[in-house]
């Protein structure tokens, strides 16, 4: 039985060198990158062009901890999918959960930051051009993290019910591609908003 399944798998890889899921996700990533590119261009274009305050230097603090959380979640995600590929269910679930927790920490960090801006600093999307570009760019990224977290949670729940098996590693890896993309975008957003722009 195992011999036939190996044969089938070998045939499949031979006639289909590319996985549909991966190609599809790459396409989505390209399209999403273009969306982010436009928002990044708007951010850079309007840097220092606000007619009145507050300026980024006055209110932004660098979110070191949440950034570390998000970036390290890429590693745990990588280990999680690696574990699933090798059939190590427990390891997969643990790492998947850690990824989920790290992502959630990041999102909570963003929410706290926004809460402070809106309620303490009285700084909103309509305050000035900085507010406009800051909330839209960071918000666009945060919404992607949120969508990622929903997807991750779904897999987590399925995993707890034992529905995620070794043969699903391909699908989890496709989801992982999205998660890595969201992380990579954060590197860009972070550099521009909290580095260059400040």
């Amino acid at each position: 039985m195992s011999a036939t399944s190996v044969n089938v798998a070998a045939e499949a890889t031979e006639s289909q060198p590319l996985s549909r899921g991966r190609v599809g996700m790459w396409c989505l990533i390209i399209a999403e990158s273009a969306i982010f590119l436009i928002f990044v261009v708007a951010y850079i274009f309007y840097m220092g062009k606000s007619l009145d305050g507050p300026t980024p230097a006055q209110i932004l603090t660098v979110p070191v901890i949440t950034t570390i959380c998000l970036l390290s979640s890429s590693f745990t995600m990588h280990w999680a999918t690696g574990a699933l590929r090798e059939g190590k269910q427990l390891l997969f679930r643990v790492f998947w959960f850690i990824t989920l927790a790290l992502g959630a920490t990041f999102l909570i960090g963003t929410l706290r930051e926004w809460h402070r801006f809106i309620y303490k600093e009285n700084f909103t999307i309509s305050t000035n051009l900085f507010g406009t570009t800051f909330y839209s760019l960071v918000g666009l990224h945060a919404s992607h993290v949120a969508i990622g977290l929903i997807a991750l949670s779904t897999v987590m729940v399925l995993a707890l019910f034992g529905k995620v098996k070794q043969e699903h590693h391909e699908r989890c890896e496709v989801l992982a591609m999205y998660w890595h993309f969201v992380d990579a975008i954060w590197v860009v957003v972070f550099t521009i908003v909290y580095g260059l722009g400040r």
Binding site: Q16, L37, S126, L129
Partner: protein, 554 residues
């Protein structure tokens, strides 16, 4: 299957199940046909809008409709034409044909395919819902009146109160998601689902061109989506992306829009190139000339077109070197486009040309696209463009491409693939009437439309003063519309009539060479009973000419 024991369903239940079957389908052929039918309905709607506008403009100082109504009509006409006629009809043909031509049983993601169609469909319905969003229907209701490129700050709540602009934004956002979904599907299908033996270099040109189009949709529609999100934030959340009062730059919208807007032109025209590249060889009885050059030229157009957007903005006041840069990139597009025209010419050369209706439309495409391309070079010359941009010359130019090029290509595609889709031939006699009346109407309307532009008539004006010398030309332009309407009526009649009473087509009525003609007409749900294996770009040629197969030469 124990078919004997099944009770026959009542006719009503059966018809209900047919409707349900179409609404819930994930079959690429049915989705393709739904895209096409949907686009045809919107083609009729946008045509009616054009008729109303041409009546208003036929003579100077007419009062057939109000300025408000006219402004809404041209906004809806343009938006509908681009997003709910041209895009869906081309995606529809692609959807139907690509899997068949690459020997696949369906698209890579059938459910995503259905999702994309319904997103596009809802986008169009949503856009038209704006007519009922307040205001008198005679004045166009609450439809948007900002032009299809919706320059800021005219779109701000101060200058466009009401919800017309909101409908416009949301409708394009939704349709944009549909287009991106379709593009993801096309790329995945073409890269992952080809039948054994079909390397990228053996793919039909139609598949290649749809691949390039899909790639362009991914990188070009997304900026539009981003810009729409910004505009929506400006209107709903009070942000200031395009708000001059807070230091925002309306010019930024222009850049974002045209970063989408120019590649969009190629997103529309490349699928039409694809039809020509499939039909021309069959009716010339020759292989396409210079296949690798055609692929290279298409890809080249795809890349270069991403760097030409600001040629829509020569009058915006960019620095002279900026203008010069975009003159250069725009003119460079002429090179790959020229390569295509010459390759098509060389395909005709030495062939045995059969003047069937699909071929007539393709030949007209060649002549008309040539003219549209040459007026494009005039517009690419920035100083000439300072006079021509936003004038009726530009309107004539892009209708030459969209109607004379793309729509003629689509008509050709209809006559060519209708037999495959329905199993019946379209009437050749009616087809030829359709063709010649369309040619007359097209040239009356759009040849003469260039002239008022040269005489200083701006676009988007609902009326003009007598004594400008524009009246005669506008009258001829409007008269041409009558012929076009007659031609479309013949076409619609031909389709309906032939669907029921047309000659039975058989598998391969045109003696063609690509895989879709290897299966039955219409094809079964699974397309091919056995997945074909190919050795060349023209697998059916190889079967028909075993003594002289293509794979010996490729």
């Amino acid at each position: 299957m124990a078919t004997d024991s099944i009770t026959l369903p009542s006719p009503r239940a059966e018809s209900r199940s047919v409707v349900l079957d179409w609404l819930c389908t994930v079959d690429h052929k049915k989705i393709g046909i739904m895209y096409i039918v949907y686009a045809l309905i919107f083609l009729v709607i946008m045509g009616c809008e054009a008729i109303l506008m041409r009546i208003q403009l036929a003579r100077p100082e007419l009062h057939f409709m109000t300025a408000a109504a006219f402004n809404r009509l041209f906004t809806m006409h343009g938006t509908t034409g681009i997003f709910f006629v041209a895009m869906p009809i081309l995606i529809g043909f692609g959807n139907y044909l690509v899997p068949l031509m690459i020997g696949a049983r369906d698209m890579a993601f059938p459910r995503l395919n259905a999702f994309s169609f319904w997103m596009t469909a809802f986008g169009g319905i949503f856009l038209y819902a704006s007519f009922f969003a307040g205001g008198s229907l005679l004045q166009g209701g609450g439809a948007p009146a900002v032009g299809w490129f919706a320059y800021a700050p005219l779109t701000s709540p101060a200058f466009s109160p009401g919800h017309g602009t909101d409908f416009w934004i949301l409708s394009l956002l939704v349709a944009g998601v549909g287009s991106i979904g379709a593009a993801v599907n096309f790329v995945a299908t073409i890269l992952c689902m080809r039948c054994p033996g079909m390397t990228l270099g053996k793919m039909p040109l139609l598949a290649w061109m749809n691949l390039v189009t899909a790639g362009m949709i991914l990188v070009a529609i997304s900026p539009l989506t981003a810009a729409q999100l910004m505009l929506m934030a400006d209107r709903f959340l009070g942000s200031h992306f395009f708000d001059p009062a807070a230091g925002g730059q309306p010019v930024l919208w222009m850049h974002f829009f045209w970063i989408f807007g120019h590649p969009e032109v190629y997103i529309l025209v490349i699928p039409a190139f694809a039809f020509i590249s499939e039909i021309l060889p069959v009716f010339s009885r020759k292989a396409i000339f210079g296949y690798p050059a055609m692929v290279a030229a298409t890809t080249g157009i795809g890349f270069v077109s991403l760097g030409v957007w600001a040629h829509h903005m020569f009058a915006v006041g960019m620095p002279s070197y900026g203008n010069a840069f975009f003159v250069l990139t725009t003119m460079v597009v002429a090179v790959p486009t020229g390569i295509k025209i010459f390759n098509w010419l060389a395909t005709l050369w030495g062939g045995k040309i059969r003047f069937a209706t699909p071929m007539l439309f393709c030949l007209a495409f060649l002549f008309q696209f040539l003219i549209g391309g040459l007026t494009g070079i005039m517009l690419a010359t920035a100083p000439f463009d300072w006079q021509l941009t936003n004038s009726y010359f530009v309107v004539a130019h892009f209708h030459y491409i969209i109607v004379g090029g793309i729509l003629f290509g689509i008509f050709g595609a209809f006559y060519y693939w209708f037999p495959k889709m329905t199993g019946r031939m379209l009437s050749e006699k009616l087809g030829k009437w359709h063709f010649w009346i369309m040619v007359i109407g097209f040239h009356l309307t759009f040849d003469f439309m260039h002239v008022p532009g040269l005489l200083g008539m701006p676009r988007r004006i609902y009326t003009y003063q007598a004594g400008r010398g524009w009246g005669v030309w506008n009258m001829i332009t409007s008269i041409g519309v009558i012929f076009q309407v007659a031609a479309i009526l013949i076409f619609v009649y031909n389709m309906v009539h032939s669907y029921f009473k047309g000659a039975v087509a058989g598998n391969d009525p045109w003696d063609a060479w690509t895989l879709e003609w290897a299966t039955t007409s219409p094809p079964p749900d699974y397309n091919f009973s056995t997945v074909p294996t190919v050795r060349s770009r023209r697998p059916l040629w190889d079967i028909k000419h075993p003594e002289d197969p293509d794979w010996k030469y490729e």
